[in-house]
């Protein structure tokens, strides 16, 4: 299990590939990998987005991401988890978050991946501020699904 908080742009596919190759114990043991990547769009609620700043409460963020990953591991039969979350200033098309789950079977991989992304959105202390041509604005939290 690995939790990464990164200040610079990252390539999620390269990170997933690198993490997976670096876990020789995984080879042959997992039949399913589910990956979710959230990426900064260049528009939101009708406005052009020029950049976004992602503020966070570093040690608390890490603790809660770890806890969500541990909960997923306890709840589903999964082999491994990788979570990468960006912070700092992002440009459109920059990945914001990447969640990857390795499991023997696909249901567990999908369910745990979705749980992770849903939980980290509501529990990890991150705040987004967008820069649009109309100025800076804090992004409002998502309505309950």
């Amino acid at each position: 299990m690995k939790i990464l908080l990164v200040a610079e742009a990252f390539d999620p596919w390269r990170e997933v590939e690198r993490y997976q190759s670096g876990q020789p114990g995984l080879a042959g043991k997992f039949g399913a990998t589910a990956v979710f990547v959230g990426t900064l769009r260049d528009f939101n609620r009708g406005n052009e987005v020029q950049s976004m700043t992602l503020e966070h409460y570093a040690p608390m963020t890490r603790r809660h991401l770890e806890r969500v990953a541990e909960e997923a591991s306890a709840r589903w039969p999964i082999e491994d988890v990788l979570v990468i979350h960006r912070y700092g200033e992002l440009r459109p098309n920059d990945p914001i978050v990447c969640v990857a789950v390795w499991a023997a079977h696909r249901d567990a991989a999908f369910d745990a991946c979705r749980y992770l992304i849903d939980e980290l959105k509501t529990r990890a202390p991150f705040w987004k501020q967008e820069l649009t041509p109309q100025g800076r604005r804090w992004v409002a939290p998502e309505k309950t699904k």
């Binding site: 991150f126 705040w127 939290p141």
Partner: protein
């Protein structure tokens, strides 16, 4: 004999400060920390964390604790 106070995002901007260190004397709960440091009423949707665990405003705090106040979180992806 102190408590570290942290403010984030729109609350940090509104108060114009991100960190405060206050005397623990006379402080019994997280709301007391807010009142001493922020000096405005606690906004209704503010989240509170004591030592990096989510807490209610009436959660007891003690000397050496870190108490944080922040708006609803917006991490992850839409």
């Amino acid at each position: 004999m102190s408590i570290t106070v942290r403010f984030f995002a729109s609350i940090r901007e509104k108060l114009g400060k991100e960190q405060d260190i206050i005397e623990s004397k006379g402080i019994t709960c997280a709301a007391d920390v807010w009142n001493r440091s922020a000096r405005i009423p606690l906004p209704g949707n503010t989240l509170v964390a004591v030592n990096m665990e989510y807490a209610r405003p009436d959660q007891p705090v003690r000397d050496g604790d870190e108490v944080a106040f922040f708006p609803p979180v917006t991490g992850g992806a839409r």
